[in-house]
């Protein structure tokens, strides 16, 4: 059996997305900036795509800027908010410790340029505390940037409340909603969001296309100098196939949001329940506040890369926050931020589902993972040490 359970890394392109992009590769080849009929035809399609994205977020189409993906949108939003802040003499930013590197590395660059960043802790459940956020906002704070849904552990932050707190204090609020858009309801008005990043390939559009939502009252400066595309803010002929596909994919995701959430959450809960039966395992992230599709576990006594590759041999595509899988010394910053010791964080596994997965696949995962964990523990000296030193009667039985 083959199971793709790495949808937080990327998703398969949907039929709707493919059908929408094919014309842009064929007859709809005009440049949207051209005045002739081929250009106009392309421009109409571009306008419709922008309207569709805006509608799904409850934004206006002039508030949507197409980008080359989530990373670019994060870079743009944060850099711009910081520039606007600096102009007003405000050089303090509030964020948290489990952001994606697109956010963290942009913040690190700003720190080198003299900005000060407060990284809120996320505690052991991976959720920012509202009181701590409010207390962190200072008179010189220009931006709060907190992700909507975490890509490794799937925790959802209290975005609406955070947005309200920022409104009250007059601070710009950006959210990296790359893992949220198309998966949970996102409404920039109701959620009090000023800037939002999204990425097409997380909801069945192709890679390399995303968008930045930026409230119309915010005076964005040009990010890429060039032509008049994206209202002059990001020059360059539009990536039409990707943009049209992204609009179609988001339209479809939003039309089926409720039913997809119900379906995917049910599979997620079955996975969590089944994997929790493995002794010395833990489910990472808050049990209640989580994205429908993301499941993160740590299994003591084993290392994540071997777990991953064993599962790969069994036909299951997953991912891990272990150091070995990133080529770095440390396990994922997200797992460490939860307070997990390195030893345990090395044994992490992330399974991320989409509506394309089935219960049969979940059952196959639940049959394979315990088997692979048992096998790797059998050859693990760390596990042997645990057995030798245990006072736990359950573990002692496994000797």
């Amino acid at each position: 059996m083959f199971v793709y359970a790495d949808n937080a890394a990327t998703t398969a392109v949907s039929k709707a997305a493919l059908d929408a992009m094919l014309p842009a590769l064929q007859e709809l080849y005009g440049n949207p900036s051209s005045l002739h009929q081929k250009g106009r035809e392309a421009n109409y399609a571009l306008i419709a795509a922008r309207e569709e994205i805006a509608r799904c977020l409850n934004a206006e189409s002039r508030e949507i800027y197409f980008t080359g993906g989530g990373t670019e949108a994060d870079n743009w939003a944060i850099t711009e908010a910081a520039r606007l802040g600096a102009e007003a003499g405000k050089k303090h930013i509030v964020s948290d410790t489990i952001e994606h590197h697109a956010v963290l590395h942009t913040l690190a660059r700003l720190e080198k340029q003299g900005f000060e960043v407060t990284y809120l802790p996320v505690h052991d459940n991976g959720v920012v505390r509202l009181e701590e956020l409010e207390a962190a906002i200072r008179p010189d704070t220009c931006l709060v940037t907190i992700m909507f849904s975490n890509n490794e552990i799937g925790t959802l932050q209290p975005i609406r409340e955070i947005g309200a707190a920022c409104r009250k204090k007059g601070v710009l609020f950006h959210t990296d909603a790359v893992q949220a858009v198309g998966h949970v309801p996102v409404d920039v008005e109701a959620d009090n969001i000023d800037m939002l990043s999204l990425s097409g390939h997380k909801f069945h559009a192709p890679k390399g296309v995303g968008a930045l939502y930026c409230k119309k009252s915010i005076k964005l400066k040009n990010f890429i100098e060039g032509g008049a595309q994206e209202r002059g803010r990001r020059g360059g002929t539009e990536a039409m196939p990707g943009i049209l596909a992204m609009a179609a994919a988001l339209k479809e995701s939003c039309a089926h949001l409720e039913e997809n959430m119900a379906k995917v959450s049910a599979m997620r809960d079955r996975l969590i329940e089944g994997l929790s039966k493995i002794p010395y395992s833990r489910c990472n992230g808050d049990p209640g506040c989580r994205a429908p599709g993301i499941v993160s576990f740590c299994f003591e006594g084993i290392e994540g890369e071997s777990l991953l590759l064993r599962l790969d041999l069994a036909g299951i595509c997953a991912s891990s926050g272990s150091a070995c899988t990133s080529g770095s010394l440390d396990p994922s910053h997200v797992l460490l931020a939860l307070g997990l010791p390195h030893e345990i964080a090395h044994g992490s596994l992330r399974l991320s589902l989409s509506e394309y997965n089935t219960m049969e696949e979940v059952d196959y995962i639940l049959q394979q993972v315990p088997e692979v964990v048992r096998m790797l523990r059998q050859m693990s000296p760390v596990w042997s040490h645990m057995l030798e030193n245990t006072e736990d009667p359950y573990l002692a039985m496994a000797k």
Binding site: H101, S306, L313, G327, L329
Partner: protein, 156 residues
């Protein structure tokens, strides 16, 4: 998060990872060596059965670590099984890497660990016998496991 590294592993590495040789615990070992550290993500424990005339008659290993850590342990046990102790002591991490048809650069430290594990087990044998031992690890001199580059890569 992983997505590209598997492609960098040779077939030989994947073969030893999927079907490791000499895995397990040896209750009556004559020498046991353990190297590495769980914080860094790999630990190897090597068990040796050594005959009167100093031939390694049996080897077993246990490894906590990535695919290459398991593969290097497995092939290292193959390379020293049935060999005189003196020959096992000449095992180098380069020889382990070559036997596996190469390792990705960030995984070379695993081969160092395999060499260290063999040497630690032999050292333990000498210690039990009350004999002097003087064969530090050629690759790095001691038990540091974190020799790989620190370039974090994110994929999603």
């Amino acid at each position: 998060m992983l997505s590209f590294m598997a492609m960098e592993y040779s077939e030989k590495v994947m073969e030893h990872f999927a079907h490791p040789h000499n895995v397990g615990v040896m209750e009556d070992a004559d020498g046991v060596g353990e190297v590495g550290n769980a914080k860094c993500g790999d630990i190897m424990r090597m068990y040796l059965k050594i005959s009167e005339d100093e031939i390694i008659t049996d080897v077993k290993f246990q490894t906590f670590g990535c695919a290459s850590a398991i593969a290097t342990s497995s092939i290292a046990t193959d390379m020293i099984k049935g060999k005189p102790l003196s020959e096992a002591l000449t095992l180098t991490n380069q020889a382990v890497v070559e036997a596996l048809d190469g390792l990705p650069a960030v995984k070379v430290h695993c081969s160092v660990l395999a060499e260290q594990a063999v040497k630690a087990a032999v050292a333990d044998y000498y210690k039990r016998k009350g004999l002097p031992y003087d064969h530090p690890c050629d690759a790095c001199g001691e038990g540091g496991c974190c020799g790989h580059d620190h370039d974090c890569q994110d994929h999603d």
